[in-house]
Amino acid sequence: MVIKLENVVKIYRLGKVEVPALRGINLEIPRGEYASLMGPSGSGKSTLMNLIGALDRPTSGRVYIDGTDIARLNDDQLALLRRKKIGFVFQQFNLINKLTALENVALPMWFSGISRSRRMRRAKELLELVGLEERLHHKPSELSGGERQRVAIARALANDPEIILADEPTGNLDTASGMVVIELLEELNKLGKTLVVVTHDVEFGKRARMRVKLRDGMIQEIEGVNHA
């Protein structure tokens, strides 16, 4: 299992009020799986994705990423894990506006200490892979939403991670460019990456082999898993 959650609880504290976002999640996602995560707004999808992506720590329970429990890691070790194993794609793209597409894609490789010429070469290859070879030196503000999301996907691939996490990657896109993005992600899954996609779109959700339904911070149903 590349992703394994045991009794994961996440409680947000707003002053004295406690907001339980996840209330005991048990979930295993095998290597190379294509999983979709669905559920009503506020059901805890993003919270769960942030834990899998090592962006946050659980209140209790264990989150194993490739065998490592993230609750035991310090900030630097978390950063290293994110850098090596995780590629995150956000609904709001989260590109850096002052950098060009090429520089945005090269950024995670900078943190890994890859030389400038090597990371520029690889960033260019990745942008070609997502079909943006004509947009290398455009800034995010000069790109369409679909193009921005493709830059974000290229960035997620920069350090060749095992896991691609996409939290509503099509949420800000029209149907056509949403389709392009989903197909691109599926392509990566076919190349061997573990893919987890959060989506509100039932059609997109159905395309995944493993379908997880969340409700009120708990797993309501998992479809498509062979228990044999």
């Binding site: 630097d76 950063a79 995150f88 989260n94 850096i96 400038r116 960035r155």
Partner: protein, 395 residues
């Protein structure tokens, strides 16, 4: 390292207005510091120079003024008596008066010094006083109705230049100009007319009164002891020591020095204030910078940046702002100090105030702006770092 620099330049040039304003804050602060400190140290230097120029072998005897007039009078006899005091080498009596002086059809009030040419030369001999002739000759004993004029009187007081051979009408009496002094840089000296003691006293009906006596002591004599002897002797002659000052050169310079010190404290204070203002300016923009970039910090962390790497990114920004702003500030401060020099030379006289920008000052200013920039950027960056990536991304 190069990557951090290029990332910073991208960031700073992306936020041009904000970067410019921060830079401006730093520049103004550092500029003020450099120019203020350069004035302060320039004053110190010129005071030191004056001290050295004057020497330390003269004693001044001046009547104390009460209600604007001298409470006692000193006379030629007092001067002779002082000359007889043990340890006194020469004595030069002086009668000074502000008189009305006519040149062609203009009339001005000018300060006139009546002196004994030979005694004055003996007392001030060796060029230590800064007087040097530009044209003509110095006064001689027995000269009647002759004057030597300071550079300012020659060139500035009247609408036309006064030259050797011209005639000045002092208190209605004609005097020939026989010499003109070079500019000394001392306003007091440059705007004075010098003539023979007896002639001027005659014209103003001053009898044998003098307004100041300057005594030069024997080489190697103890100046404080000689001063005390003169004081005792005059006390006996005049019946009281309340009515005149007997001061050494050192005491006079100390008094002047005190005034300079006050000025220096004032300039030092201004510099301190501008330092603080500069520091607050940098801190303010750095805090703004970091706060506005909380989301960017989230993105950097989500894509794998460690806290140390994010910190380096922000500190590079701050260091660049500090150094570039500091550099420009130092350059402008140096320019201002040059302007002050030019203005001071023009209106106060050559060499009265020469501001100095030392390498130490430049180094100090640059280090200071660098340190302020980094320290001001450190705290907000540290705060932003403590947010986890999820919280930072929500900003």
């Amino acid at each position: 390292m190069l990557d951090y620099l290029s990332f910073s330049f991208k960031n700073l040039s992306h936020h041009k207005v904000r970067s410019f304003l921060t830079l401006l804050g730093v520049i103004i602060g550092i500029m003020a510091v450099v120019s203020m400190i350069s004035i302060g140290s320039g004053m110190k230097a010129s005071l030191k120079e004056q001290l050295e120029q004057l020497g330390s072998d003269k004693i001044f005897i001046i009547p104390r003024l009460a209600y604007g007039t001298a409470a006692t009078t000193l006379t030629d006899e007092d001067a002779d008596a002082i000359e007889r005091v043990a340890g006194v080498a020469f004595v030069s009596p002086l009668y000074s008066v502000a008189g009305d002086v006519g040149f062609r059809n203009e009339r001005k009030i000018v300060k006139i010094y009546g002196i004994d040419p030979e005694k004055a030369e003996a007392t001030f001999g060796g060029g230590a006083s800064g007087y040097r002739l530009l044209k003509g000759r110095w006064l001689q004993r027995g000269d009647r109705y002759k004057v030597v004029i300071g550079y300012g009187v020659a060139s500035d007081v009247f609408s036309r230049d006064v030259n050797v051979g011209n005639t000045l009408k002092i208190h209605g009496v004609n005097f020939d100009v026989v010499g003109v002094f070079k500019k000394t840089g001392d306003r007091e000296k440059d705007y004075t007319i010098y003539t023979n003691l007896d002639t001027i006293r005659e014209i103003f009906g001053a009898g044998d009164k003098v307004t100041m006596i300057i005594a030069r002591i024997d080489k190697g004599a103890d100046i404080d002891l000689v001063r005390l002897r003169i004081e005792r002797m005059l006390e006996k002659r005049k019946g009281s020591k309340e009515n005149f000052f007997v001061m050494t050169q050192k005491e006079i310079i100390e008094r002047v020095g005190e005034a300079y010190r006050v000025v220096q404290v004032v300039f030092g204070g201004l510099a301190a204030v501008s330092l603080i203002v500069g520091a607050i300016g940098i801190a303010n923009t750095m805090i703004m910078n970091v706060t506005e970039r909380t989301r960017e910090i989230g993105i950097l962390k989500a894509t794998g940046a460690s806290n140390a790497q994010v910190m380096k990114i922000f500190l590079t920004d701050a260091a660049i702002l500090g150094l570039v702003g500091g550099g420009i500030g130092v350059a402008l401060g140096y320019l201002i100090s040059l302007v002050i020099n030019a203005v001071a030379a023009r209106y106060l006289g050559e060499g009265v105030l020469t501001t100095t920008v030392t390498p130490e000052l430049v180094l100090f200013a640059l280090t200071f702006s660098l340190v302020i920039g980094v320290v001001a950027g450190l705290y907000p960056a540290y705060r932003a770092l403590r947010l986890n990536p999820v919280e930072a991304l929500r900003a």
